[in-house]
Amino acid sequence: MDPVISIQSLEKTYDNGFEALKKVELEVISGEILALLGPNGAGKTTLISTVCGIVNPTGGKVTVGGYDIIHDYRKTRQMIGLVPQELHTESFETVWATVNFSRGLFGLKPNPEYIEGILKDLSLWDKKDTKIMQLSGGMKRRLLIAKALSHEPTVLFLDEPTAGVDVELRQDMWRVVEKLRQNGVTIILTTHYIEEAEEIADRIAIINNGRIELVERKDELMRKLGRKQLTLELREPLQSIPDNLADFNLELQAEGSRLVYDYDATQSHTGIAGLMQALSEQGIAFKDLATRQSSLEDIFIDLIKESS
């Protein structure tokens, strides 16, 4: 599958000497939702800003739809919509005027029906004649999305779109994202809410210290690194793990009162049934049990720890 965005050895060093991006390599596949995860200062926003043309790269090459972002900037920027992290808006303009301005700025003829559709999707239609300064933070966030969609982009960057946004709006937003994806729009989003990436992304890229540490399909990543754990609270503490349980990958915790079993939930034979049988044969009784799957958050924290 052809990448819609191809980033090769991208470097950015700011005037103060800070190396925000160090030879970043990344390919974004057409039509996917890619989540870019990373701690603060990892280079997420610099990476996005460079592709969108707000920051000049120090080295490397980026193409969007096969066009170079420097030489063919008109073609690449035409394809891209950007929703910035900060709520940068005018104050005295109306919603309707500012969204139409955005469309014009991107060189397109006015299309009131299209703009109406966007505003309705984002529940902004009844606010169309409201001045921006009178909108709430969540409404401003919707407005920035409407502005970014006003020129019918095929690639959409969402830089922390749900930061400081309530649950209802977040769900609204994902509905819009889902609809865009169905229309074939490629979406790259950065987020701090790892559960969100887990929920909607097709692929996950992890960036830390200006380097892409990992790019993987989400389900692949979860399978590779996602282990499951069964924890049994025992009635009577054990001194050691009995011999006939040695084949199981067991660990004794909390002074022998807790037995922890690590297993791979994606296998058809998890070994749980065998373990239960062996336990009852040994007469080991338990009062409670819990299973836990390592979330993307655990995986993320592990990776960041490893690399730093």
Partner: protein, 253 residues
């Protein structure tokens, strides 16, 4: 050339003018009328005429240059500074427009607005004094070139400024004194010899002189020198803007 983009920026800026009509149109007209009352009627009644032109009429070109310059500079500098201040410049930078097109939108709107204000002042002046325009074509050229040149200059200030203080600094400390000392309200022949020579170092003098010549045929310096000066400013400002575009100075990191 991205026609829609330039016109979007231009219309956006003009809409700002309409929203702030009191501040952008009415206030310069009121302040100019005050100049007429104070200088034209009160003081002018004692001066009667300068170089054969009634004092009230004599100050009209100077007043027009004063408001053309201040309007062009403040409109253009504010226009480009404000998106930097609010952060909305991200949208300009990520749009498929060249710097030249961005400049065209902002400078075009600023110059248009300055020309509107200048024209209103001319019309207002006609109510107070007898106006003659001996060289209408030359008057129009000076009129438009001044608006465009100082809108470019304002655009440069707006890009250079990284706070509101800097935005006001050059208009307040340099431009306004130069206009007042450049013969808006007097002919330099009224000054002592030494001050006449010093005033010749003031570039604004040449603008006012040339503009006044277009009205009444009287000037402090040769009109072609005035013309060369305004073209010179235009070239310098265009060069600086070109340099800004090339280096991304204060715009693109």
């Amino acid at each position: 050339m991205n026609r829609h983009s330039v016109s979007a920026i231009y219309r956006f800026e003009m809409a700002r003018t309409r929203r702030t009509i009191l501040q952008s149109i009415v206030s310069p007209v009121i302040s100019t009328s005050l100049y007429f009352v104070v200088f034209g009627a009160a003081i002018g009644s004692r001066i009667t005429s300068v170089e054969g032109v009634s004092y009230g009429a004599f100050i009209v070109p100077g007043l027009m240059i004063l408001s053309l310059m201040t309007q062009s500079i403040s409109n253009a500098s504010f226009g480009i500074y404000f998106p930097k201040f609010t952060g909305t410049i991200y949208e300009l930078l990520s749009a498929p427009v060249s710097f030249f097109e961005i400049m065209l939108g902002y400078v075009g709107a600023a110059a248009t607005k300055a020309i509107i204000v200048g024209s209103i002042i001319l019309i207002t002046a006609a109510f107070f004094v007898d106006l003659t325009i001996m060289h209408p074509f030359s008057m129009l050229v000076f009129f438009i070139l001044t608006a465009v040149t100082f809108s470019l200059f304002g655009f440069i200030i707006g890009i250079w400024a990284d706070n509101f203080e800097k935005l006001q600094l050059i208009p307040l400390l340099i431009v306004t004194p130069l206009v007042f000392l450049g013969g808006s309200f007097y002919s330099i022949s009224m000054l002592p010899d030494l001050w006449q020579k010093i005033t010749l170092l003031n570039p604004v003098l040449y603008l006012i002189s040339g503009f006044r010549w277009s009205f009444y045929g009287v000037s402090d310096v040769n009109v072609w020198v005035s013309f060369a000066m305004i073209i010179g400013f235009l070239v310098i400002c265009s060069y600086v803007v070109w340099w800004i575009f090339k280096t991304g100075y204060q715009i693109r990191e």
